[in-house]
């Protein structure tokens, strides 16, 4: 299994505060990896360094075999990696369908899209694909609503759909189901799992929903604590690790253990 994302010795300091001390892990092709850890342990900062939003103090990030350590976000995205943000950030005064039409690549390649407008074949294909994605997410009826009119859960769905429109090979999801009701959250996860299994996409996901992380979805888990990787391993290994249980899982880990 070749690594699509490689993080080596990542360190991020904000002035005197060391948010991420030393983080190394990688994500293989077609793999779904969970990134967990207590609040403030540096998960989102790690994400921001990988995606190019922040420039790390030290360390190396490799995306699809290319050194992305000092790249700007749009360059990294074009390598095939798309991320979402913890607080859903849709383009609020644009319609849902428009939100989905922004990310696709090579929109400016041909000038004739200018005068053919919506009748241009590539534009038609993008539009058709966007409606397909909305169908998959089961929110086609919201296509013409402004993004600001969506509920929290619907926003999360559209956010994932928008990320998919960029046809990424690697998806970084920052708490994709925070604030989404139980059944829908489970459905989102099973869809993600399905996506990984069928299309060979890789996913790195930050999540506090232990039900999903420990039992149903991910292939591997990276546990962070205080800016460092505490351990990496399969869900079973993580659940039975005493240090992880003490630092983060608490009763969730124990309960899981007892069930088995």
């Amino acid at each position: 299994m070749s690594a699509v994302l490689k993080v080596e010795g990542l360190r991020m300091e904000f002035g005197g505060l060391v948010a991420v001390k030393d983080v190394s892990f990688d994500v293989g092709k077609g793999e779904m990896v969970g990134l967990i850890g207590p609040n403030g342990c540096g998960k989102s900062t790690t994400f921001n360094c990988i995606s190019g939003l922040l420039e790390q103090t030290r360390g190396r990030v490799e995306v699809f075999g290319k050194d992305a350590s000092r790249m700007r976000p749009e360059r990294i995205q074009r390598l095939g990696m798309t991320r979402t943000f913890q607080h859903t950030r849709l383009w609020r005064e644009m319609t849902v369908i428009e939100n989905l039409l922004v990310p696709p690549r090579k929109q400016f390649r041909s000038l004739d899209v200018l005068w053919k407008g919506r009748k241009h074949a590539a534009e038609q294909a993008r539009l058709a694909r966007a409606f397909e994605v909305l169908d998959e997410l089961e929110v086609p009826h919201m296509a013409h609503n402004l993004a600001s009119e969506l509920s929290g859960g619907q926003s999360k769905l559209v956010d994932i759909g928008r990320a998919m429109m960029g046809e990424p090979g690697l998806l970084l999801l920052d708490e994709p189901v925070a604030g989404v009701a139980g059944p829908l959250a489970m459905k989102i996860f099973s869809n993600l799992r399905h996506l990984v299994d069928t299309t060979g996409i890789s996913i790195l996901v930050i999540e506090h929903n232990m039900d999903f992380i420990l039992r149903q979805g991910v292939d591997r888990i990276v546990v962070m604590n205080e800016g460092e990787v505490l351990m990496q391993g399969t869900p079973d290994e993580v659940r039975s690790n005493r240090a992880v249980v003490e630092a983060y899982l608490g009763s969730a880990g124990d309960a899981g253990g007892e069930e088995e």
Binding site: T95, V113, L114, G117, F131, A143, H144
Partner: protein
């Protein structure tokens, strides 16, 4: 639908604009209407440019006049004849050069400002405009005209001016000198486009040159409209709006926001530079004062806010209102002095209201407070608040002015200058300010708000694709 109704209504108002009864009514009416239309074209082009920068891309541009002045100054300097310290270029290359420089200025501006927050960007743009204004009043290289030491730019030729009055071939005087357009227009023996149009419309003299400017402005508007609406509908317009909504996210979805912002600034800059050139031609010669923000940038912003951000139709309505107001107050300024001019009655009424507010400020304060009370009773809290503030303002003003005969009044309005009279220029600014405030308070999205893009699903019916 609203757009066409509003546009037709405003156009009727332009046609209705009062004119004093001179004998050559048709000529002056044509002059008046084309004057308003030329002003309208200038403000509309500037509003288009602002709409691209601020409405679509979200770059808070308070330097509309910066780009416009690049166009006005460059066209003036480049085309003025060499004996007036210009460069003697033909007009077309000069206009193209001005637009290119405007575009380059916009492009270069994006570099250092791209990472700034929008409010800092606004400060940069407003200071760029001021820098050019100060340069224009101080820099000797930017002085062009009959007298080398005079500040400002003048004596530059206007497009088609010679052709309009003198015809295709240059007209010579009996002494063998080339006649100026003014001389041609006074010579009834010369047949030219102006005299032909003048005859057709039944004037006793050649048609005014302002008509040519209005027509040039009209074509510029149509062309800009087509270009901009094509861009807005394209994927590029979509990306611009995504940058406006959240540029960081746009960047994380693979768009080079720096390049898109620079392109947006460049396209808008070129449009504004052309508007500046048009402005220069309309003025015939200008001083640095034409660049003062209250007379340029803020009027364009008023058009932008009243009309409706991110909607070019809104820009049309906004620019029409502003152009009308400009003209209306120019007439009022004249009417204030002489009783035989149109709108003298209205000017008088404004005088009376102003005197009432200055000399007995507690009366209007009372009126406003009573109105506020009425609004409370009608449960219109927003209106009540507004009237309340107006009443409070008048109360404070009343205390400060201290009633009739107070020295703060007699010194500002000495009896030798006719006592208490408002300056119409300031009345206009008050009115523009009130329009902006009320527009933001009661109709924040403007008369014609942005229309989001709502494409239908086309996969099911391939017939539609072929259309």
């Amino acid at each position: 639908m609203t757009f066409f109704a509003l546009a037709a209504l405003l156009f009727l108002v332009i046609l209705w604009l009062p004119l004093d009864g001179r004998n050559d009514w048709g000529f002056y009416k044509t002059l008046q209407v084309s004057n308003v239309m030329a002003t309208f074209a200038i403000f509309l082009l500037l509003a288009f440019s602002l709409n691209l920068h601020t409405g679509m891309t979200g770059l808070l541009n308070f330097g509309v006049i910066f780009f416009a002045s690049i166009g006005a100054i460059l066209v003036g300097i480049l085309t003025a004849p060499q004996e007036y310290f210009g460069y003697g270029w033909p007009i077309l290359p000069a206009v193209l050069a001005a637009m290119v420089v405007g575009a380059v200025a916009g492009w270069l501006m994006a570099g250092p400002t791209a990472r700034l927050r929008s409010d800092y960007f606004a400060i940069i743009t407003i200071s760029m405009g001021e820098v050019v204004r100060l340069l224009l009043s101080g820099e000797p290289l930017l002085r062009v005209g009959a007298n080398a030491s005079a500040i400002g730019i003048g004596q530059y030729p206007k497009p088609l001016n010679v052709w309009w009055f003198c015809g295709r071939e240059p007209q010579l005087t009996s002494a063998g000198e080339v006649m100026s357009p003014v001389a041609c227009s006074l010579d009834p023996s010369i047949t030219s486009a102006a005299s032909i149009v003048g005859d057709l419309l039944g004037f006793t003299k050649p048609a005014p040159y302002m008509l040519v400017l209005a027509v040039i402005g009209f074509f510029a508007i149509v062309l800009t409209w087509v270009v901009l609406s094509t861009l807005y509908r394209s994927p590029w317009g979509r990306v611009l709006r995504a940058i406006r909504e959240d540029e960081e996210v746009a960047q994380h979805h693979g768009h080079d926001i720096m390049r898109h912002k620079a392109t947006s600034l460049a396209v808008g800059g070129a449009i504004a530079a052309f508007a500046g050139a048009l402005w220069a031609w309309k003025l015939g010669g200008f001083q640095p004062s034409f660049m003062s923000p209250a007379r340029s940038t803020f009027l364009v912003w008023a058009a932008f806010i009243i009309g409706g951000a991110a909607n070019n139709r809104g820009m049309v309505i906004g620019a029409m209102i502003i152009a009308l107001m400009e003209f209306f107050f120019n007439v009022l300024v004249a009417a204030q002095g002489s009783s035989d001019l149109p709108l003298h009655g209205l000017a008088n009424n404004i005088d009376v209201v102003f005197q009432w507010m200055v000399l007995t400020p507690f009366q209007p304060a009372l009126v406003f407070l009573v109105l506020a009370g009425a609004m409370v009773w009608l449960r219109r809290s927003s209106a009540a608040e507004t009237f309340g503030w107006m009443g409070a303002t008048m109360l404070v003003l009343g205390v400060l002015l201290g009633g009739e005969g107070h020295h703060s009044i007699t010194e500002v309005f000495p009896e030798v200058l006719g006592g208490v009279h408002p300056k119409m220029g300031f009345v206009k600014e008050v009115l523009v300010g009130l329009l902006i405030v009320f527009s933001l308070k009661f109709n924040a999205k403007g008369l014609l708000p942005e229309v989001p893009f709502r494409p239908e699903r086309t996969g099911a019916s391939p017939m539609e694709v072929e259309e």
